[in-house]
Symmetry: C2
Subunit: 244 residues, 2 copies
Amino acid sequence: MLKVSVISSAELVKDWELWGKTAIAVDVLRATTTIVAAFDAGCTECYPATSPDEARAMRRGLGDGALLGGERKAQPLEGFDLGNSPLEYTADRVAGRQLVITTSNGTAAIRRTGRARIGLIASLRNARATAEAAWTLQRDLVILCAGTGGRFSLEDTVGAGMIVDYLLKTARQRLALNDLATAAHDLCNLYGHRLLELLQLSAHGQYLVRLGHGADLEFCARANVSRLVPVYAAGVIRPGPVAP
Amino acid sequence: MLKVSVISSAELVKDWELWGKTAIAVDVLRATTTIVAAFDAGCTECYPATSPDEARAMRRGLGDGALLGGERKAQPLEGFDLGNSPLEYTADRVAGRQLVITTSNGTAAIRRTGRARIGLIASLRNARATAEAAWTLQRDLVILCAGTGGRFSLEDTVGAGMIVDYLLKTARQRLALNDLATAAHDLCNLYGHRLLELLQLSAHGQYLVRLGHGADLEFCARANVSRLVPVYAAGVIRPGPVAP
């Protein structure tokens, strides 16, 4: 029986729980949404860094053609080309470019997927496409919510729940869900048709609105508008394809 | 505005997050249910120990009149008087007796409440009584789910949600819920009227059924049948009263 686990914060997962599996990183507000947006806008490669200093070092390695993006406390970083608003990642900024990105929770979750057989990057915007790709792979699945400061976040859990929902509807056999996968599916049923309201209800969404990023919430809330499934392997995220 | 936070696993909370607040430990399957049952059956005091060795040492300190109870991997421990099934904690075994108890997740969560201004012990059986007591105290509230091995557990989250539900219905002002408190309330609305089914759906409930403890689930699922609100302070749990 295929196992589907949702983990509330990537740092809670042990490496051995990922070995041989498919892992999906979810950070709806906003890292994984931003990365999907960057690839949709023609970005060629994205390097996730766990700290601003590591990001600067990576950019030095890649050369001046590479862009530097990200945030701490949802604020842009000094000397960076871009913040963490997906709205900044337009074709005229990122098409044909490499990107180095560092965010408070999301990039650590993405790096953690590197311990799995394959790591995928999901947001509400590409949840369906990611679920389809994960189903094709037919391996046990661990969905790593980025969470906020090590804690449960509502929007990432609902994003995970959208993937669980697709798998439950597609699988002909039963799936073995962990408790948070069950709850994520329940919460997806509750919030799946009012995602903007969900983001406005979430603690991090409210924080972003206070900082003037309300428009980001509208962008992040649009479900299944992208068919891209970014893949993380050997330190780099590429815009697919997902190969078994 | 009164803050109400739910934490998926007690080990994720920082000490400073508890200072001056009311903390409630919830371990529906089965530690906090068992402790409430023990007090309902006339137990006088309960000492939560974090390891079997510490429990044995505590009992030596208390003398032979004290009972030793608990589990690891839901199994009874060698040389202990009682396991962790609430059904064992009958008046003829525990009335008038002191108890030392150690369990895999629950007793650690209880000990953690000792960093708060006051620590309370809740299960489904005394959720309403605990919520009423917590409301009387009028302090910011942190509900510590025991979880399972550091992870989200469905039944503890719904137990927390029952407390949140009471507070939302009683408070005339708005409450500041963290994301997991919002989700716990949603899950309480979904499962509150089918609690036995909930426990049978949860991973730890299924594990207990496989071990032959199905009757425990029925006992643990009965909501609001106890008016007791055990209080943890200075290393000891007593069967109330809750004093501000």
